[in-house]
Amino acid sequence: MSVLVVTEHHRGTWHRISMEAVAAGQQAAQAMRCSLAAAVVGSDVGGLACDLAHKRVSEVVAIDHPQLAAYSADGFAAALSKLIDDLRPRLVLFPHTYQVRDLAPKLAASVGTAFVSDAVGMRFEGGEPIFVRQMFQGKLHADVVPRGAPPHIASVQSGAFRAESAADGDEPAPVRHLAIALGEGDVRSQTGQPYQDAQDAVDLSAAKIIVSVGRGIREPGNIPLAQALARALGGELAASRPICDSGWLPLDRQIGSSGQTVTPDLYLALGISGAIQHVVGMKGSKTIVAVNKDRGAPIFEIADYGIVADLFDVVPKLIEALGESD
């Protein structure tokens, strides 16, 4: 019996959450008193497999096939189904990435098992895992358990485990190659190379101060108010996804999992509820200020300073006070 961690990489480098998943796997294997296997899937992944073997794992399984050079749900699910058949793990852990959102539900359904997605925490009772995940846009947390026969599948959210805590082994773990048969017709989709939309991309990652707006800004006519505060503070203006989706600010000012990740000295969140997808893009900020009417908004969980008020009352006063002190 074992725990299996499936890593993710792009063009020869690890996805940053991969080692966080390895750290989660090490914790799980210890609590469940079983061995830990780590898998790397792709084409020409020998180097990555050797790198992964330095971590404290029982074995590294490399699934190497030219058809796996680019991600496809069909190809990767077939490869991992084969590995699950071979290894019969109790628990399979993934990093929660866009690729895993595409892949893991299919894998779980094909194996007929549970997939607990996007866990922010994990604990064990009687050797069985209990996962903590956010629900209702992060306003509530839930303890969730997989049901039915193993293997159970789960993914861990970015930042839930520390990559540095993924311990190295005393000596490199053995690397095993698992052969799979994949024909032309087995992968039904064709995927192109990743690209970025042509744009005069604003690089918000360099900004020291960011004023960011969410749904609470209510209408596009109110954006200049936030802009004025950003200007008074000498910072940049940014937004959560719904604002950019509505076209009120350009997409390159979006913070979150689908936009930019920032760590400014000051992040001032105006009318942002703090959904997971936004928070992963800004939780590393040095000082976080949240202004929101709803005391229950999850943004207050990560804020250093909280103001429970209407942003339309507070922001003009902030601009006024900043103007007086100049």
């Binding site: 990435t97 866009y98 959102r101 893991a104 539900p105 299919k106 779980a108 359904a109 549970a114 997939f115 997605s117 996007d118 209990i130 629900m135 209702f136 846009q137 992060g138 306003k139 509530l140 947390h141 839930a142 303890d143 969730v144 358990v145 039904r188 989709s189 064709q190 995927t191 192109g192 990743p194 970025q196 020291k208 996804r241 719904p242 997409l251 390159d252 999992s257 689908s258 930019q260 990740t261 000295d265 000051l266 040095k286 000082t287 200020v289 949240a290 229950g296 969980e301 804020a303 250093d304 300073y305 909280g306 103001i307 008020a309 009352d313 507070v314 003009p316 006063k317 902030l318 006070a321």
Partner: protein
Amino acid sequence: MKIFVCVKQVMSRDAALRVGGDGLWVRDDGVAFETNEPDTFALEEGLRLREKHGGEVVAVTAGPARAASTLREALAKGADRAIHIEDDRFARADTHTTAAALAAAIGREPHDLILTGLQSDDAGFGQTGVILAEMLGLPHATIIMKIEASGGYLRCKRELEAGWFQTVTLPQPALLTIQSGINKVRYATLMGIKRARRKPVRRYASTDLGIDMAPRQEVLRLYQPQQGKQTEFLEGSAREVADQLLSKLRFEARVI
């Protein structure tokens, strides 16, 4: 093109969330419900594809009786007909159960394209669409920002992380989960609301379809999250709060 759009009714975004007595779900008495916002983008995309290529849009939900209003809204916006798989247990069903119900109903009919939102605003597992595709044996792609259909293939713009995209081409029939913001969602017109009354809604009980209701995952406890950081709440008039904040940022945090 025969297009099925899966929609879910969830608690309104502004609803006050109160954990129920069993500690397993939120109380739904005296709460307003609405169509899961990501699903509204999927419906809009389905309507646009029908307008371009012809065919039919069928709105499908697996939900309790109250979810009928979400189907009516979809019909008012332009869906041709609707399917309601009704069971109170769907209100808090896991993704596997919901997908099994949708698969049982949609699987009975020919289908060229199935669309879902990328996740629900309540439980937010973000899996139902992909599981549904697997159950129906269809190829899928997730988090789609653009769809071009031609010659039996779908050419899609798929969102990746951190501002990157990728083109994915799939043969039809296929399932796509739609990213919010892919389009501008239309409102129902008065005429649409009137017409919706005459549009057919097919109702199934979960027992009619022989759905596997055994959950693959279960909520043991639902609760308010613990404070991750010690948040200092500032109180007073707007001006007092503004002055306090600037002083904290200057002298305590030293960030301005």
